[in-house]
């Protein structure tokens, strides 16, 4: 009985090096980007220690010019190959890059990403062109999702970006997108 209480209450004592190794193992096995919060919960560690371990891990990968990198993506950490080696990886996996999105789809996606939740008429207003087929493509590729109906005449459907969008565009979260006003300076 006493022993059991002891086991539960005692915090796991790991050396920083061990923690780095364990964090690496968990990020490796995770199917999806794994968040600092989840790592802290599973390992019963402070978030700060997890954060430090990840930073240590990142610098180790970089320090030895590893073929792998640890990236923050869609609110979590993910182990991925380095862009430099994409040709070799692709050759091995026998995959081809995904079909590129058309200009119309990309524009529609940009409007949705910045204006979400946004309705079809609002997208039309900005793009000056019907976007129905682009929206279908984006829904099919799960880059956008329906986000309920707007409380306006006709109750039009609203769209927003999905988690897949963050993953496919390598974003931590939506705030990582440059501000739309930044593009104004770029344009002029």
């Amino acid at each position: 009985m006493d022993l059991e209480v002891l086991e539960v209450s005692e915090k796991p004592s790991r050396t920083p090096t061990e923690l780095v190794a364990i964090v690496e193992a968990l990020i490796f096995v995770a199917d999806e980007p794994i968040s600092t919060r989840v790592l802290a919960e599973v390992l019963e560690e402070e978030r700060d220690s997890i954060q430090a371990a990840i930073e240590q891990l990142q610098s180790e990968y970089e320090g030895r010019d590893s073929g792998l990198q640890i990236r923050e993506i869609a609110g979590g950490w993910q182990l991925g190959t380095r862009t430099e080696y994409h040709e070799e990886v692709r050759k091995f996996l026998k995959t081809r890059p995904n079909a590129k999105l058309s200009l119309a789809s990309l524009e529609t996606l940009a409007v949705i990403a910045y204006k979400q939740p946004v309705t079809v008429p609002e997208i039309l207003e900005i793009r000056g062109v019907q976007s129905a087929s682009a929206i279908k493509t984006l829904l099919d590729r799960r880059l956008i999702v329906a986000k309920g109906r707007k409380e306006a005449v006709g109750r039009p459907m609203q769209y927003g970006t999905s988690k897949d969008f963050l993953v496919q565009f390598g974003l931590k979260d939506l705030s990582e997108l440059p501000s739309i006003e930044d593009f104004e300076d770029l344009v002029n």
């Binding site: 200009l103 000056g128 062109v129 739309i180």
Partner: protein
């Protein structure tokens, strides 16, 4: 931006038109279907921006007559090549002509006296162009990001991973499955004989009993069992009804995979 409008005619010839030199030439093609490649303009605003830049005009002081003329020329070209001109392009043409005519009209002297700074008829268009251009650049940024991302591979392809957290299938996925099956039924049923049709209530009861018995039901298989379109529709409504009541969950193991109904 590619400037060449290409059209493959029924005679296996490729007709290409250089918009700027206004020369046309026939090139050999390889397909018998009428295929049209309409440049790469994403819309009328995109075309307009292009023309303004082409004319080296100032976006804040658009030479509206010249740009309108160029724009209409482009629309005419599309028509000449038998390309169905999207309505949105025509709307923009009308807008340009309207602005042009407004600018030709002499100012109302009574109004001008009152309001020294009468709004430029081009203002609204300029605002739209500037707004659009921001999103066009943002689209370019997204394109670059996705290109970089496509060069990074995570451990194992997530999409084909059976352990992947189940994706909640949406009503759209459901409709896609339904359409697939209806399409298959179209050819099969030539004549419908009056028969006792199952009621929606019975269908829901049956489906619920099955989910309860097996824990889960593959929707594709369930729909396949239906004998008529009517039954199929009843089955579809039954699924929607059961999902709405939230006693079961719609699941998809992978993108475009089969949809499973599972007890919560």
């Amino acid at each position: 931006m590619p400037l060449t409008e290409t059209i493959l005619t029924e005679k296996d010839e490729q007709f290409s038109f250089d918009f700027h030199k206004e020369t046309a030439e026939i090139m050999s093609g390889g397909t018998d279907e009428l295929k049209i490649k309409l440049g790469e303009f994403a819309g009328p605003l995109d075309l307009l921006l292009y023309l303004i830049r082409q004319e080296q005009a100032d976006i804040f002081d658009i030479p509206i007559a010249r740009i309108t003329e160029k724009y209409l020329e482009y629309i005419r070209l599309m028509k000449r090549l038998d390309i169905a001109v999207a309505a949105d392009f025509l709307v923009m043409a009308a807008t340009l002509i309207e602005i042009k005519s407004k600018m030709l009209l002499p100012r109302d002297p009574a109004l001008a006296a009152d309001d020294e700074e009468m709004e430029d008829p081009r203002q609204e268009l300029v605002d739209r162009l500037l707004e659009y251009e921001k999103f066009k650049s943002a689209a370019g940024m997204l394109h670059e990001r996705s290109t970089i991302e496509a060069a990074i591979f995570p451990r194992g392809p997530i999409e084909s991973d059976e352990n992947n957290a189940e994706i909640d299938a949406s009503v759209f996925d459901l409709l896609t499955v339904f359409q697939k099956i209806v399409a298959r039924h179209v050819d099969e049923v030539k004549m419908e004989i009056q028969r006792e049709e199952i009621s929606l209530a019975d269908m829901i009861k049956n489906l619920k009993a099955r989910i309860f018995e097996f824990g889960e039901v593959n929707l594709l298989e369930f729909f396949e069992e239906m004998h008529s379109r009517r039954e199929l529709v009843t089955a579809f409504i039954a699924v929607l009804e059961i999902v709405r009541a939230e006693t079961v969950k719609l699941l998809q193991n992978k993108t475009f995979g089969d949809i499973i109904l599972r007890k919560v």
